[in-house]
Amino acid sequence: MERYPSYDVIIIGGGPAGIAAAIRSKELGMKSILIESREILGGVPLQCIHPGFGIHYFKEDLTGTEFISKLLKKMEDINVSYLTRAHVHSIEVRSHNEKVINVITSEGVKRLETKTLIYAAGARERHIFETNIVGDRPDGIYTAGEAQTLMDIYGIMPGKQVVIVGSGDVGLIMARRFALEGAKVVAVIEMMPYPGGLLRNVVQCLYDYDIPLYLSHVIKRVSGRRRVEKVTVSRVDESLRPIKGTEFELRCDTLILATGLIPNIDILERIGVIIDPATRGPVVNEFLETTVPGVFVAGNALIINDSVDNVVNQGELAAEGAHIFIQNDGMPSTGWRPVKKGRNIRSAVPHYISGMRDVTFYARVRAPERMVEVRVPEVDFKRRLHSVRPAEMITFKLPKELLASLKDPKVTLEVVRLCRK
């Protein structure tokens, strides 16, 4: 096995978070390398031929593919080193500033030593056995990402009569994608009483194409001998339980699962990183450092984001964290203050802050509300929002000047309703 000189930082995952982290690491003068398992850098946005990428980062509305091209150009300009077709087999933690990354490549196993690590390997899609759908297990069931890969990377049409499960942005965009290629999109099925994606996407992807959206409905059963033939749909009550007698069938040959993403962090769990059950990603401090010193995480491996701009910011922040870690031989802190989830906050990162620096919070609410304020009462922070929805991440920054007044050993994020109706 080949051994390599030690790195300051190794970045695992060549999607937007990893690329951004690699660029920032290089700018900060760290000896770094980016590791990607596929044959090309770019990650999931490569297969996203719809716009909505880079409005903040590049100040332009780009497709995913265009966004990645521009990001890669930036990366090449400053000569970031990277490995593709390289699979991280395991991580060995030797000490707080010594880690070994074992990487499988077609030249052999490489053992890469590093002081810090930024993990940005994205998320995986929830599959059918993680839903409550029972019945047959015929062909014709695809995750949204798989269908998107087939259509937009390899030019293959999965089927012609499509039912989509999940009305998050991914589900909505795939509904339009199928409709654009002449498929009959029979329905989009959403368990919650409200759509999971942006309102803009509901209009542009469903209403414009006359695609029915069934809110408060679930698919109970899939039937089909060889390929999907039909699905049985049922209404659900307020506690999301199917209501007897409301079942009906929809004929289709294709079922697309857009039922959400789960951070892809198995390898971090194996080195003892503590996981937050709410985000299903690691518990992190304000530099996105996990509970294993010198191991940082960014992008969808940290928390499922809905904008690539946030992902890129997290990658850059993790790189800055790694830089500070190396300069100080560990993360300097006078004590970490926990971030508590208050009213109507389902998930939030970071989990700990120092109170010494600016902090960007990423949070999601439990339930949709209108006319609210996001508050951090300990520092008297308030921001008025017209509406909040679980589908839309709340992002805001607490400047260090404001945090300087913090006396409390904790901070609380909460959403407060301003008036009724």
């Binding site: 052999g108 015929p138 390899y154 293959i156 049409m157 290629e181």
Partner: protein
């Protein structure tokens, strides 16, 4: 002259019979399978347990009792010769206070069947053996000879070895009729033409009643499909028993197992639900079935992993014969027809013993003087798996073949080299359509927690490339991956 033998069905029963017959000069064997691949019926969706034989009543089911016991012993040799993943953890049939009497019955059955070392383990000892058990348990019947096998690989391994010893496999071949003339079988008519045969062995599993009726025998023999549902958990859950756990069977049910599969997943199942006779394809899962399993599993364990750790649920159909009685018989009219029908549990366990039993039937009933082949190869090696190797071993594998360095399935660590080897092996045994499911069962790619969301398209690309098939025509399980190129619907209107 060699006897031409046609075996209908390449499940575990037909495949084991093929292997045993391949040891002799007397036979020229054709194994006929209607699916794309071998072992796609009951053989692939079962408990994966190699039973000791202490549950069989020797009076009611003497054949089951005898062949189960023999099969348990034979699998130990077969698994070694054929490189089939197997382990022998033993089994604990748990009982609660009111169940003790029923459980003790198995001690008696074990004695009568000659199953060694079956004994009662009291509560304290039991909780030491398996600390994750439900603490309310009273005791258990311990049967140390229970095994756990990889059922997919078992069938594949047996067929690979049989083909290596001159058995011919015909997949995608469905039997339509059996030709009989002058009181003797003459052959089978299939969708792929007529196959001459002097002996026809019916190992058609859930469809074995239909095949028997084609030969005009056992008109009252009717198989009932009995559905068994299962839940499979991720490898990383903490509740994983060392031994096979089993609830005490009742009058109505055979009990539910909680076990760690050969690949390290916690598995709960099966249910036992009798379906109408014509529901022979109904391998659907149900809410009721899965809830029943949760309920039963709660009796086995002190706690269960969260539901979010379930990575798969599935169901299989067992071929339930009248009175649970296996029908293994060689007929004089028509001469040459042999039923190996209605082989319900413990059929997988007994399969190698059933094969020898059938050989003996041929020898005695049809008066065949068996001649062993001089050159019969008992061995078969499995696919080399990166997941079983150390980093140093992986490194040297890659240096010999760089395809080992290209990882296709992240969850189960499966490389391109393994996928290509699976394709190669499928072709070698005569499989015409390379399916993604066939590759999954051979390599385990797609068996992990993402269930193929990351790797299915990559495997499809490899199949497309190495079999010169357009990507959309690559078959997943039973139908193509896509319907055409992405503009096909717009073009065709």
């Amino acid at each position: 002259m060699r006897l031409r033998v046609a075996i209908i069905g390449s499940g575990i029963i037909g495949s084991c019979i093929a292997r045993v017959l391949s040891m002799y000069e007397n036979f020229s064997v054709t194994l006929i399978e209607r699916e794309f691949d071998v072992g796609w019926g009951s053989s692939k969706a079962n408990s994966s347990v190699i039973h000791p034989g202490h549950e069989e009543d020797p009076e009611r089911h003497p054949l089951r009792a005898k062949l189960c016991k023999e099969g348990n012993i034979l699998w130990r040799t077969w698994a070694k010769e054929l490189d089939i993943p197997v382990k022998w953890p033993g089994e604990l049939m748990l009982f609660f206070r009111e169940e003790e009497g029923r459980a003790r019955k198995y001690i008696d059955l074990a004695k009568r069947n000659g199953i060694p070392s079956v004994k009662i383990v009291p509560r304290e000892e039991l909780l030491k053996m398996e600390p994750i058990l439900n603490p309310d348990v009273e005791g258990a019947v311990y049967a140390p000879t229970t095994g756990v096998i990889d059922p997919f690989e078992a069938v594949i391994a047996v067929v690979e070895n049989a083909v290596d010893n001159s058995v011919k496999l015909l997949t995608e071949t469905e039997v339509r009729a059996i030709k009989i003339a002058g009181g003797e079988v003459k052959g089978v008519l299939t969708n792929n033409g007529f196959i001459d045969a002097d002996i026809i062995i019916n190992a058609a599993g859930i469809h074995s009643d239909e095949v028997s009726h084609m030969a005009g025998v056992e008109p009252n023999f009717k198989i009932r499909p009995r559905r068994g549902e299962y839940i499979l958990f991720d490898e990383d859950v903490e509740i994983k028993p060392t031994r096979v756990l089993h609830t005490t069977p009742t009058e109505k049910t055979k009990g539910v197992y909680g076990l760690t599969t050969i690949h390290g997943n916690l598995m709960i199942g099966p249910t036992a639900e009798d379906l109408p006779p014509d529901f022979k394809e109904r391998t659907s899962t149900t809410n009721e079935g899965l809830e029943y399993l949760w309920d039963k599993a709660l009796a086995l364990f002190k706690e269960l992993p969260p539901r979010s750790k379930v990575i798969r649920s599935f169901a299989g159909l067992r071929a339930e014969p009248p009175d649970g009685r296996w029908l293994i018989r060689a007929y004089m009219d028509p001469w040459g027809f042999i039923n190996v029908a209605g082989i319900r549990s413990p059929g997988f366990t007994a399969a190698p013993a059933i094969a020898h039993y059938v050989l003996n039937l041929i020898r005695t009933e049809y008066d065949v003087k068996l001649i062993k082949k001089d050159r019969w190869n008992p061995y078969r090696r499995g696919i080399v798996r990166l997941a079983d190797k150390s980093l140093h071993q992986i490194d040297s594998l890659i240096r010999k073949n760089p395809d080992y360095g290209e990882i296709i399935c992240y969850c189960k660590l499966v490389s391109k080299a393994e996928i290509l080897e699976a394709i190669e092996r499928m072709r070698k045994i005569g499989i015409k359509t390379i399916t993604l499911d066939g590759i999954k069962y051979r390599t385990r790619a797609g068996f992990g927690r993402c269930q193929g969301a990351f790797c299915r398209w990559k495997i499809a690309l490899l199949v497309s490339q190495y079999t010169q098939t357009p990507l959309h025509k690559v078959v997943i399980k039973k139908s193509p991956y896509g319907i055409g190129d992405v503009k096909v619907l717009l073009r065709e209107g």
